[in-house]
Symmetry: C2
Subunit: 230 residues, 2 copies
């Protein structure tokens, strides 16, 4: 019975790792659609998000099914299941954020949504997003607490990029129209939230491995510099 | 045994209803802090968010504890528990969004973050947020599917306000500096997400009552009008 339970829990872990790959791929393609104003690719990301949602629902069903059949009563096992539900939710939400990026690409098509000087920063944001989601997948598989805590550092990089975007938008020497400011503000937030959810996934792994939550995630928005001199 | 289970599930429902009240209150106070540039109030909302986080963690523990002791094997009971975990997560996230609003107020203090012409729209957004979170609480208590589906209509109102904010920002006759555009874009998104999570809570109630998910939530961002004439 315990053997069977462990086996099924491992399968649920594999499902979560697969979801990290799906949402990483979705964000990567959404970024390409955005930067290349590629409507077909944007549509494909949007369409594909349903599969990610479905994957999450399947994970839910498997978890409920496991409970019903195995009735784990050890607190640790129950925590694994609760955390698994939360992780699949984080991952599904990461898929939504990729979808939002794709929708900005679609909305502004055939014009690119991103002025040239933002391209390299958006590429960096996607690069960090890819690194962090890959690491989140590795951490789910390894349950390695040190690796999980490493993700905070990647998240700091993302926060720096997010601040950089605001600083660029506020640069008086290179003004932007309001539509661009709105698009870029939201896009930057989508990447930043994507990374936050990946960190949240890793934090749940720490919780599973140690029974304790790591220190709270730092929050960027309230600690944003005030480039307007305010 | 079944009686005891029902009783404890009802208590968990009460806990969720209480959370709707806490996050509604948090958003209401954050809005006041924002509009009146009230630093003390903003700090209080920020401080108070920890209590909401703690409340969510307590809900988790109670749910895990209920599983461990009662071992529900009926699929419906399991779905109730899974949905309860998700609802407490939605509600905790709504608390975070109130916190984000308070942080914008704190960041821009002593200057008000909101130009005068946006005040009434932000007040309306808070009004709809209050209505929708109150209704979400009622729906958790009543498990009334019709009431739950009503929330979609409130959410449509919120989406209209969100669009209106963008239209106002893009109005060439009344230009804004980029800092204001960034702040307002994010604030508007916080209110809109707050409502989304409340709808999500109500949708989980429908799922519990009927075993089926209602039609997908409409998504504003990708369907935003293109006031730039694009």
């Amino acid at each position: 019975m315990r053997e069977a339970f462990r086996g099924e829990m491992a399968a649920i872990g594999d499902g979560l790792v697969e979801m990290t790959q799906l949402v990483g791929f979705a964000m990567s393609r959404a970024t390409t659609a955005l930067l290349e104003a590629d409507l077909d690719l944007a549509e494909s990301v949007i369409e594909h998000d349903r599969m990610i949602d479905k994957r999450r629902d399947e994970m839910d069903e498997r978890i409920v099914d496991l409970f019903a059949r195995q009735q784990p009563v050890v607190a640790t096992d129950l925590r694994v299941l609760v955390a698994s539900l939360r992780m699949s939710d984080d991952l599904e939400r990461m898929g939504d954020l990729a979808l939002h990026v794709a929708k900005v690409a679609r909305m502004r098509h055939p014009r690119p949504a991103i002025p040239t000087q933002f391209i390299s920063t958006i590429l960096e944001m996607n690069y960090v997003a890819q690194m962090i989601v890959t690491r989140a997948g590795e951490v789910i598989a390894s349950r390695n607490v040190d690796e999980a805590l490493e993700l905070d550092r990647n998240d700091d990089e993302m926060d720096l990029l997010h601040r950089k975007v605001f600083a660029m938008l506020l640069d008086r020497n290179s003004p932007h129209d309001t539509e661009t400011a709105i698009d870029i503000t939201l896009l930057s937030r989508y990447y930043e939230r994507f990374a936050d959810h990946a960190v949240s996934v890793a934090r749940r792994v720490v919780y599973l491995a140690t029974g304790e939550w790591p220190e709270p995630q730092s929050d960027l928005i309230g600690d944003m510099p005030r480039p307007g001199g305010q």
